[in-house]
């Protein structure tokens, strides 16, 4: 089992790209800023260390290594047993490690402090780091998100928690106008290294307002990145990468995935924010998914394998921007694409992904792209109705069969 760790973070210090030169300059000249510890490096499974972060060949090798993974479990080598934990604990571990590493990392949100977070992601952190570093805010999403943005502009690295992603609709003004835009409108003078995270998605009969998928609303905002975690391994990795990133990142978690258990490495690692994850390599059809639908897809995959199909499953992870390399390579191999998402049909991530694939890889497609999304309805309370709004494994199986005719 290959153990691949990837370093991104303050890659500006290592990169020679001119457009990254802004970051090191700020570190040198501005007394307000506290300084990030330099980021981690790429450690290969054979132990060799690689500082060349932008080499195509290295990335290709990493993808090949990923492709040989038989399942989605974490990369822990035989020499290092790793430790088992639940997804919300993995998020907390990532957050805690980053807070220890950099004193400018702080958390703000409703009930993150004394209560430990409504899903326990920040449990005991306030006891450890104090009430100012793990700040319990009043119920004023727009204002405390804006406060996080102002703090980020003046040198801190806040992690803003929306108790439920849906509540961040109230913060839309700050997220769109300030978070996404201010780096640009200030001509690059202010960076906004903020992480906005929270649970979203359809839960168990939580009702329409608590079951929203905001990734479709935020995806048009220029200047932000969006990632969705789905396993304890990538939850911790993405949390750490998001905190270390100089860009504003929105990290989407899912209410129903917090109790997933997995064994993850003991060592420090991060997951690349812009890359997709190969879950199951295959030959017949490319299934693109993210977050909770990954598990519906894998369940459907079992049925499909029994029926003789060989689906390739990719967890796109990066909702904005899309990893067109991983996706493109897959399309070139299988020539058939099925997108399975929990977003609404209209204007969702699947809709954008369909457009992106059509634009870039139309010649490689043997069939039109199929996109399975949630119904365009406010999520009903009744269990049966709720089940019918989201995509179920049986539908995925049918879709693949249709696609592969």
């Amino acid at each position: 089992m290959a153990a691949i760790f990837q370093g991104v973070g303050a890659a500006a210090t290592l990169s020679s790209s001119p457009s990254n030169s802004f970051v090191p300059k700020k570190f040198l000249t501005s007394p307000r800023r506290s300084f990030c510890v330099p980021s981690s490096v790429v450690v290969r499974s054979d132990g060799s260390v690689n500082f060349d972060l932008n080499s195509k060949s290295r990335r290709a090798q990493q993808l090949v290594a990923n492709a040989t993974k038989a399942d989605s479990s974490a990369a822990s080598s035989s020499s290092n047993p790793g430790h088992e934990l639940l997804l919300f604990e993995a998020l907390r571990e990532g957050l805690e490690e980053e807070m220890e590493r950099d004193p400018c990392v702080c958390v703000m949100g409703e009930d993150v402090g004394h209560y430990g977070g409504s899903y326990k992601v920040t449990k005991d952190l306030a006891k450890k780091f104090g009430d100012l570093r793990v700040l319990d805010t009043p119920i004023a999403e727009n204002s405390f998100t804006g406060m996080g943005i102002g703090a980020a502009m003046t040198g801190l690295r806040p992690v803003v928690e929306g108790m439920n992603m849906g509540f961040l609709l109230l913060a839309f003004n700050q997220i769109s106008n300030n978070c996404g835009m201010l780096h640009y409108t200030s001509g690059g003078q202010f960076t906004i290294p903020i992480v906005i995270r929270g649970p979203g998605g359809v839960g168990r009969q939580l009702g329409a307002e608590h079951s929203q998928r905001l990734e479709s609303y935020f995806q048009s905002i220029p200047g932000i990145q969006m990632v969705a975690c789905s396993t304890p391994y990538n939850a911790k990795g993405l949390m750490k990468a998001a905190i270390r990133s100089e860009n504003p990142v929105i990290l989407f978690e899912h209410v129903l995935l917090y109790n997933l258990k997995e064994r993850i490495p003991d060592e420090d690692y991060i997951c690349n924010l812009e890359e997709a994850e190969m879950v199951r390599p295959g030959e017949h059809v490319t299934i693109l998914t993210y977050s909770r639908m990954r598990y519906h897809v894998m369940q459907a995959a079992k049925t499909l394998v029994n029926k003789g199909y060989d689906p390739e499953v990719i967890d796109i992870r990066s909702l904005k921007p899309f990893d067109l390399y991983t996706i493109g390579n897959s399309v070139k191999k299988t020539h058939r694409v099925l997108i399975v998402e929990e977003c609404m049909r209209t204007g969702g991530i699947g809709a954008s992904l369909t457009a992106a694939i059509t634009e870039n890889f139309n010649d490689y497609l043997d069939a039109p792209i199929m996109c399975l999304s949630s119904q365009d309805v406010p999520t009903p309370y009744a269990g049966t109705l709720e089940e019918w709004t989201v995509v179920q494994p049986a539908q995925i199986v049918t879709a693949v069969e249709q696609l592969c005719q």
Partner: protein, 432 residues
């Protein structure tokens, strides 16, 4: 003796006046409080619907600032509020603000700048009165009416004018424009087009200051943030939410309301159930002060106390400055709704004329010296316009820069390379 800011009933401490010079008289005398919303009493008579009693004083927890200048003149030994150097600094800053805005209007009508341009004529006393007391590391957060805040904070006139012309030498490389003035060097954190959205950002900057002091243990970090906004914003949720948070955590921030009585065409009295904005401070646990915003010396005295309070870690203050904009809301506003007598009333209280009079009458300066300053500013502005005119427009390659601090955020392209490594990317022709 009564204090300048009296704390509300909920938070106990009375405010102890710090007088830089001992001959200062106390700042308030409750009996001689200046009338609130002076000219708009005429508006009230015209529209008979309002029942507001302007003389009504609330529970005694806020006071208006008395007419200091008049009091000063009546004592036998004149004790001045400013030195000659300070007086000239204030005068020059206000003249710069006024002349700059007048030049903007000229340039706009000549087609050198476009879009929404909001001018500050008449309100200079607030910008000068507050910002000239700040250190470089203190932050200022403004709104779309931000040119003069930028100038007072120290952003060169050349940089602001270039920004307005949309040139690459502007303070935001031409990417922000009139409503988005930023300067990391001078700690000017915007420039915001939507009202109210800057107030949380200002609260965040103040939070950073407190964080530095208490978590990062930078013991001497006493940076203060000033948030400027108007009367219309005071009915917006973000205003109230931030008053709450700032008072809750005792953030080093001063909320400065530039109450010019009009939000485009909406009179403050028609939009607000209780138009006395300073009263909203004590409701959240901070002092609320009303001051005559057409008098730079009064504003400066109030500002000194508020900023000192914040520096000492005692928390926020809400300062309502009653002022007036001599021009329309923006250069596109025909300004038909405002009563000419109201305009005349405030024009007679031009802050620059008032300061000039004060300087001359108290022998701090003379006509010749002040005229020399006027000339110097004119030359500065000619230079700024010339610089802006001659500066280059942004090239195509600038289009995609600065979208992300880390341009890896544009993602990985189909060829496996990061988009930002694509040479077409820097040319601005890449498709993202």
């Amino acid at each position: 003796m009564a204090t300048a800011f009296s704390a509300p009933k909920l938070a106990a401490q009375p405010f102890n006046t710090i007088s830089p010079t001992s001959q200062h008289k106390p700042l308030i005398s409750p009996t001689a409080a200046s009338p609130f919303l002076g000219s708009t009493r005429k508006l009230l008579r015209l529209s008979s619907s309002s029942q507001l009693n302007l003389r009504r004083r609330s529970s005694g927890s806020v006071f208006a600032v008395s007419d200091i200048v008049k009091e000063k003149k009546s004592t036998s030994i004149p004790s001045l509020l400013i030195t000659k150097e300070e007086g000239l600094e204030l005068y020059e800053d206000m003249v710069l603000g006024r002349a700059f805005e007048d030049m903007c209007a000229q340039m706009y009508y000549r087609g050198k700048m476009f879009g929404f341009v909001h001018l500050y004529n008449g309100q200079e006393a607030i910008s000068t009165g507050f910002i000239k007391l700040l250190k470089q590391q203190d932050s200022v957060v403004s709104t779309y009416r931000d040119h003069v805040h930028a100038l007072s904070k120290g952003v060169p006139a050349r940089a602001v004018m270039s920004e307005l012309f949309g040139k690459t030498t502007g303070c935001c490389r031409g990417q922000g424009g009139s409503m988005h003035m930023f300067s990391s060097e001078h700690n000017l954190i915007g420039g915001f087009a939507f009202i109210g959205e800057g107030i949380p950002v200002a609260t965040g900057a103040a939070f950073s200051s407190k964080y530095r002091r208490e978590v990062l243990k930078e013991a001497d970090c006493d940076h203060v943030t000033l948030a400027f906004f108007g009367d219309g914003t005071c009915n917006n949720g973000q205003f109230f939410e931030c008053l709450n948070m700032a008072a809750l955590w005792k953030l080093p921030i001063v909320f400065v309301v530039e109450n010019n009585l009009w939000a485009i065409g909406m009179s403050h009295l028609r939009a607000t159930s209780d138009p006395q904005i300073y009263k909203k401070g004590p409701a959240f646990g901070m002092p609320g002060v009303h001051v005559d915003g057409m008098d730079v010396l009064k504003v400066r005295e109030v500002a000194k106390e508020a900023i000192a309070r914040a520096r000492r870690g005692e928390g926020p203050t809400l300062v309502e400055c009653e002022t007036y904009r001599f021009r329309g809301h923006s250069l596109a506003d025909p300004d038909e709704l405002r009563d000419p007598t109201e305009k005349a009333h405030y024009a007679a209280r031009d802050p620059i004329t008032a300061l000039k009079k004060y300087l001359i009458e108290n022998n701090l300066s003379g006509e010749a010296e002040l005229k020399a300053i006027d000339k110097k500013i004119d030359e500065l502005l000619e230079d700024a316009v010339e610089f802006a005119d001659e500066s280059p427009l942004p090239p195509r390659s600038q289009l995609l820069e600065n979208v992300f601090a880390d341009p890896k955020g544009f993602g990985i392209g189909p060829d496996g390379r990061y988009r930002c490594e694509d040479p077409k990317f820097t040319e601005g022709t890449a498709h993202v």
